[in-house]
Structure formats: C-alpha cells, structure tokens
C-alpha cells in the first residue's frame, strides 16, 4: 500500500487526464471550453499538494521507484509548467478550433511521463517515463490536424524521437550487458568496483549520451527542434520547449551523473565541448532568424548549452546539480512565458510572428509587451531577473570544476544572445506599428497568467534564496 502512496501525485494526474477526456464528450462543446482547463488546473494543483509526500523518502516498488528531494523538486517543476501551459492555452485553442479535451489530456499524460523520469531509480522505469513523456508530445505537435506544418512538425519529431529512443535503449542494453544491472545504484557501484573505461562501457556511454542528447536538443542532435517548434501550435510549442527539456535533463542527471557518475572523467570533457558547441550554434543561428518563433526555438537550444555546461561541471559537487535544477526552473518560467507572449500575435493565417509583426507591439498591447520584455531580459541574463541568478549560479560550478574557458564561452554567448533578444524589444518599443495590422484579440486569462509569471521572474530575481536552497537540497541525492 505504501508503494501506491509513493506515487499519489502521478496517479492524480493520470486520473485528471482521464477525467478531461471523459468530460470532453460528456459536457458538450460550450461547457467544455470553460470546464476543461478548470478541471486540469485544479487537478494539477491537487497533485502539487500531494507531492508534499505522505511516504518517507526512499525506494518503492522493489527499487524501481525512488522518492527523494530530487523527485520532489522535479515533480513540482513539471506540474507548475503544466499548469502554466494550461492557463495560456484556452483562448488560442478556441480561436484555432483545436480539440481542447485531447490537448489538455495530452499535456497531463506527458507530465505523468516526466514525473516518472524524476521518480526512476532504474533504467527501465526511466525509459518507460521517457516514452510516456515523449509520445504525447508527438501528438501535441500534430494536434492541428488540418495544418500541414503541424503535420510536418509531428512527423519529424516522431521519426527522430523514435530513432533516439532506439539508440538510448540500445545503450541501456549495452549498459546492462556490462554491469548486469538496471538499477542506477548497482550500475554505479559496479563501475566503481571494476575500473572504468573498457570498450563496451564506452560504447554504452556514447549511445546513452547521444540518445539523451537528442531528447534535450543538444547540438549536433538538435535538427528536429526548429521545425517541430515552429510547426506545432504555439501553446504546444511553449510547453514542448520546457517540459520535455526539463525531463530530458532529469534523465541526464539520473543516468549520467547518478548511474554513470564514476565515469565522469571520461564524459565530462565531452559534455563540456558539446555544451560550448550547443550554446554557440544555437545563438549564432538564432541571430539570423526573421521569425520570432523560430528564433526562440534556436534560443532554447542555446539555453540547453548553458544547462549542459553545469552538467559537465558535475565534479564540482552539489553546486553543479543545484545549478542545473535552478536553471531548469528559471528557464521553464521564462521560456514558456516568452513563447506564450507570441500567442497575442499568432492569428489565423500566420505561423509564429515575423519580427515585423511585432513592430509597435508595446502600443497595441502594453502589458503583453512588458511581460515579453521581462522574459527576454531574463533570458538575456540581466538583473534583477531570475535569468541572471541562474546564469550566475551556472558559472560558479563551471569555474569551480576548472572549466574557465567554458565560463568565458558562456559570457560571450550571452552577449550574442542579447543581440537578438533585444532586437525583439526594439521592434516592440522603438518601432511604430506598420500599416494595417491585424486587430489583436485581448485574451484575459493569457494576460493574467503572463502577468503573474513575469512578476515571478522579477521577484525570484530579487529574492531567490528559498528557491536556491530548495535546488541545493534537491541536488543532494545526486552526490554519493
């Protein structure tokens, strides 16, 4: 019975997803549009309450599931992101006639998958979680059935996602072959006991790194990202860019830092180089984009690089893990927010906003523009925002691990990134609206949730202490 109690939050979210599906058909169209988001948000909030766990920390389901501070942190992050994503969606879904029931249910199912990754203490649980997280996202990308770009996005994402899952699974098989274990702790202790870099171990390590690299959109395994992000309906993109990325990093931390931690000497320099390449490539390509949605897609790749830098610095101890967690939280908030701001201009017939469409946005929608500016300033890493604290917090373990060059690369990249983020601010505040601009709908729910989120970005940039301490506690289980 305590086994079941350990996964109450996941059970709640699953039930919510089913309720939404049933409600969709039972309630009828008119009432469903209002009721479904309400049910989803209420259910997810209940799940957050349930994460304040009733069971003692430890292993459950015969060691397949672990509940620790790390799990708690990620559960809360995934649920908060799902709530945020739900709140910004309703008006858009109605405008574009996207089936709401399926949409919210998919978000919930994907969140269950992500939470399962956070729970996992075994390769098998982790893989199940990863698939449960990703498959709904394929659906989400293609949920706009009539739109060919949405179809393209779903197909590309699905093919590459399936490919990467296969690679990852193959890597897991090698790992099992070498260590005869699927349990993270057992794998780690085998690697400690039996020396490290043998041929098969390296193969396993490479396959796992590539597989997880695909999921997190690390360059050069990122090619699916821009098309998938651009083609998917914008609220789905907002969710895709943060939820699955956070989940992928949860997996990276569990597998690379947790299970394969003893091999850190072998992988950390590779990861450091990947991080540098990822952030630089993401930023350089983002510079050349004229479409804001695509630009944000590349910018999210750049942020993957910053987070990966902290992973590479894992020999610095708790502070590295804590930096990853804190950055993921900050990134989730500001990136989801930034994509959601595009919902104002994402009208029928447009695919994401070209930069020109944002001209004079501050006049047309002052609050939306302010929120967008706050998210962009935070993504740039300028105080007093959470993005700045996150950057400061990432640079610290990177330097501590002796990767001074990587810290300098991060700093220079932040300047590159400032250029294209601020270009959007320029368009919004310093240009006049051009000619006949489409009339903007002014969705109240969207504005409210963006207002709250941008306030949170600033407030957590000024008083981040409790969040920092939470991240530090949550990173503790990663260190042996």
């Amino acid at each position: 019975m305590t086994d079941v109690a350990a996964v109450y939050p996941e059970i709640i979210v699953t039930i919510v997803a089913c309720l939404v599906l049933v409600g969709d058909t039972a309630l009828g169209r008119r009432r469903a549009t209002a009721a479904l988001p309400a049910i989803t948000v209420a259910g997810l909030a209940l799940a957050i309450v349930a994460t304040v766990t009733v069971v003692p920390l430890g292993h459950y389901f015969r060691g397949f599931v672990v509940v620790d501070a790390f799990t708690g942190f990620f559960r809360a992050v995934f649920l908060l992101l799902a709530i945020f994503a739900t709140l910004v969606s309703p008006e858009y879904l109605e405008r574009r006639r996207i089936p709401a029931g399926e949409y919210y249910a998919t978000i919930c199912f994907s969140t269950v998958g992500a939470m399962t990754i956070a729970l996992s203490s075994d390769l098998i649980t982790l893989f199940v979680g990863l698939e449960l997280m990703t498959i709904p996202i394929y659906v989400l990308a293609g949920i706009q059935r009539g739109d060919r770009y949405s179809n393209e996005a779903a197909l590309k994402y699905f093919l590459l996602g399936a490919f990467s899952s296969a690679l990852l699974l193959y890597g897991f098989a090698w790992l099992y072959g070498v260590t005869r274990a699927t349990d993270f702790a057992a794998i780690a202790s085998y690697l400690v006991a039996n020396g490290v870099a043998s041929g098969p171990t390296i193969v396993a390590l490479a396959l796992v790194t590539v597989g997880l690299g695909f999921k997190a959109a690390v360059v050069p395994f990122h090619q699916w990202t821009p098309d998938a992000y651009e083609g998917a309906p914008t609220p789905a993109t907002a969710f895709m860019s943060v939820g699955p990325k956070a989940a992928a990093f949860a997996a990276i931390l569990r597998v690379l830092v947790g299970a394969l931690g003893p091999l850190a000497v072998d992988w950390s320099i590779v990861i450091a180089v990947l991080a540098a390449v990822t952030m630089t490539a993401g930023n350089v390509v983002a510079l050349a984009q004229g479409n804001t949605k695509r630009m944000l897609a590349y910018s999210s790749i750049a942020h993957t690089g910053y987070i990966l830098a902290a992973v590479a610095a894992s020999r610095a101890g708790v502070s590295a893990g804590a930096a990853v967690l804190f950055y993921l939280f900050a990134y989730g908030l500001m990136n989801l927010g930034a994509f959601a701001c595009l919902l104002y201009v994402d009208l029928d017939g447009t695919r994401g906003a070209s930069l020109d469409e944002l001209n004079g946005f501050a006049r047309r929608e002052p609050l939306g523009a302010l929120a967008f500016a706050v998210f962009l300033v935070s993504l740039t890493g300028i105080p007093p925002t959470i993005g700045f604290i996150a950057k400061f917090y990432v640079i610290q373990p990177v330097l501590d691990a002796g990767l001074a060059w990587l810290a300098v690369v991060i700093a220079l990249n932040a300047v590159l990134a400032a250029f294209y983020y601020l270009r959007v601010v320029v368009r919004m505040y310093m240009y006049d609206p051009e000619g006949a601009v489409p009339r903007l709908v002014s969705p109240r729910l969207l504005s409210t949730s963006l207002g709250v989120a941008s306030a949170a970005v600033v407030i957590l940039g000024i008083v981040p202490n409790s969040l920092l301490e939470w991240a530090q506690r949550a990173a503790q289980p990663l260190v042996r």
Binding site: P383, L399, V415
Partner: protein, 507 residues
Amino acid sequence: MTHLLTLLIVIPLAGLVPLVIFRRDDRAVKQVAITTTAVELALSLWMLAQFHIGEADFQLVERIDWLPSLGIRYFVGVDGISVLLVPMTTLLTFISVLYSSGGAIKMRLAEYMTAFLLLEVGMVGVFLALDLFLFYVFFELMLVPMYLIIGIWGGPRRIYSTLKFVLFTLAGSLLMLVGIVAVYLASGDAGSRTLSLPELIEARGSFSADFQFWVFLAFGLAFAIKLPMVPFHTWLPDAHVEAPTAGSIVLAGVLLKAGGYGFLRFALPLFPFGVQAWLPAMILLSVVAILYGAVVSAVQKDLKKLVAYSSVAHMGFVTLGIFVLNQQGGVGAVLQMLNHGFVTGALFLFVGIQYEKTHRRMIADLGGLANIWPVYTTLFGVFVLASLGLPGLNGFVGEFLVLLGTFRFPGVPLGGLFWGPLAAIGVILAAVYLLWMFQRVMYGPIRESYRLLPDMTRLELACAIPLLVLTVVLGVVPQPFIAIIEPSLDRVVRLATDPGLILMAAR
C-alpha cells in the same frame, strides 16, 4: 544604525507608484518625477552632511544577509570616494528630469520618467554597493533604462546606437561576471565564501599572480568599456549623438563614472598584483585617450560629437590619475570625475538647449549666436573654459592634480617625466578645439533665420545655475572636497601598492 542609504535606493522606486497611477496625465507625471528626484537630491545632501570627514573607512553602513545560502549580502556604505559621487548623481538626474519636463520630450512621457527613475536606482546603487554581487546588479540595472532612453527617445540612428551601446557594455560586464564568480570561489572554502569587499580584502593575500592577472583583465575590460578607454570608446560618440539631451547628460555625467569608480573601489584594492601587471598598458591607454580624444574632437563637424570625444579625453585623465597610484593622482582623478560630471553635463545641456531652438547641430550651420543670446553665450563660455582647464574653475584643479601625480610617478616604463608632459599636451589641445568650436558657434555672421530665436528660458537657467555654482566653487575652494576624498583615497592607494602582497603574489 540608520537606513539612509537604503532610503536613497528606495525613493526612486517609490516614485514609480504615483507615476504609474497618474500615467495618463502629463502634468502630474512631470510633477511626480521632479518631486521624487528633488527629494532624492535633498536626501543625498543630508547624507553628505552626516558624513564624518577625515575617516577613511565606510560610513552609514548597512548589512543584511541577502542570499545566505551563497554568502551574498545586501551591503551598502559610503566613504570619501563615493560620498561625493552620489550627490553628483542625484543632482544631474534632477536636472535631467527638470529639463526634460520643459517640452523636450514629446511622446510617452510617463515611460520616459519611469526609465529615468529606474536609471537613478541603478546609478545611486552602483556608488553605494560594497558587495560585488550587489554592485553587479546595480551596474547592469543602469543598462536597460539607458537602452530604452536612447532607443525610444533618441535621434534618427537611435536603434543602431543603442544596440551598440548595450552590446559593448554587456560584453564587458558579462566577462566581469565570470571574474566575480572566480573571486567568489577564491574567497574561501565552500560555505565560507563571500563577495563583501572588506572580507575580500582580507582574503586577497591568497589570490595568486596568475589569478590576479586574469581577473583584473575581466574587471578591467568591463570598466574600460564603461569609462570608456581607447580603443573601447567607439560606442560613446554614437550613443551621445543619438541620445536625447537628458540622456546624454546622465550618460556622460554619471554612467561613465561607474567605470572609474569600479577601478578605485574594487579592481585596485583587490588585485594589487594585477594592477602592477597591467599598469604599463593602462598608463599608455590613458595618455593615448587624452591625446587621441583631443585630436579627434578638433576635427568633429557635429557639436554633440565634439563634446562626446572630449569626454574620452577627460576620462583619460581619470584613468591616468588612478593608475599613477599616488595620492595626488587619485584625488585628482576623483575630482576630475566630479568636474567632468558637472561640466560635461552642462555642455550637453547647452548643446541640447541650442538644438531645441535652431534644430541644427553641425558647427558649420551655426555661428553668431552671441549676437542674440547674451546669457547663453556667457554661461556656455564659462563651461567651455572650465572644460579646457582654466585656473579658477573646477576643470583646472582635477587635471592639475592628475598631472602633478603623473610627474611624480616613478613606474614602468619611462616614468612620469615622459608621460606627464605628453598628458599636458592634451590640456593645450583641449583649449584649441574647445575655443575654436566656441568661436565658430558663437561669433561670426549669424543666419537670418536665427534672429528671432529667444535666449535661455527660466527653466533652462534653473537647470544651468546649480552646475555653474559648483563649477566655480570647486574651482575656487577645492580644499573641503579634497579633505573629504583624501583619507579614503589614501587607503585605496595603500591597498593597491602593498609591496608585501605584490611580492607574495609574484612568488
């Protein structure tokens, strides 16, 4: 324990509340902004009155744990170096806001004043912060409002200029952030790390030579770009030319000082070996800035650009004074920062006033203005003379002390007897380009279309008079100001030239 300094940081923020409430009413917006900056000015003068002259250490200190898990504090205080820069900041902000309320800003007034109040928070905070993290936060906080001020209310090429300004500054400051983190990690073992200045000064004995070399470079780049030193100055003329008048006043008057102040407050005391290692480069670049700034000023066709390049030359004196590492030079550098704030602020104000009336900034389009504007000509003349270093006005005192310090500078390479005369040539060149400019703008035949333009209004006079008074007072009786600066500056110079530490690091 008083909360005076925190109040100084909070008041502009508090002013935002009524500003947002009355945002639709331009008159109310002006009143709120003027009142807020006036209260801030009064409070900063009250702070100056509370300051005990003759003590080297920090006063009015406030210290609260901010991020206890990282050992980062909200830590503010003033010493003889910063205590004068804060009232300078609040005065220049007040004047900027006052001038802007006169009709120079024709659109989005509430947003404009919001940007100015936020800017004031950053500027005041930079001079008060004694924790490197806090300093960095304020240092960056100055960036976004100024970016908006240039980008929204600036001239035709404002967007290019403002992006250039931001990217230059950001490139420097982000490298400094890496430097700050490096200092943080070097300050102790996990758990006892800190970024508070006094603790860092205690811990600096353990900073190795290599470490100091690189970290000084990281800090130095940030400050050198902000200051700006040649060859990082190229953003400055663009930013000044496009910025609205009030933006230029604050940019030249205050933002540049953050660079010079950063050297004195953090780079010098923390990295004595780094200072020694980079000393030849800094001296060379300072003298180059003085000469290059002067020569380039002389050939400018645009009045505003001329004043902007003269800033480069004047800030060269600041860095020269700082890096000759003696008391005269240092005191001269701090005075030069104040003088430059008042005088160059005033010059930009006068260029702005003139532009508002004639809508011309090219020197060739002007001329003969003395015939119609006697008051304007007199006041502008005084500031031009102060800027070129006429004895009896403030510019002379700072530059003279810097030159004195330079002549007594024994350091590598070549010594003060080489660098001193070179820098002195800069003073002569300043007289050349400033007087030549004055002659071309003020005398000669006047265009007919200017005949009916009115002289300075009462509002414009109200903006100029305080600066005029300070220019004269600082020139005639500099001693009280020197007495305020001297003890703290001595301390900085001693910390920066501690021979034991320099040797220890070198070993």
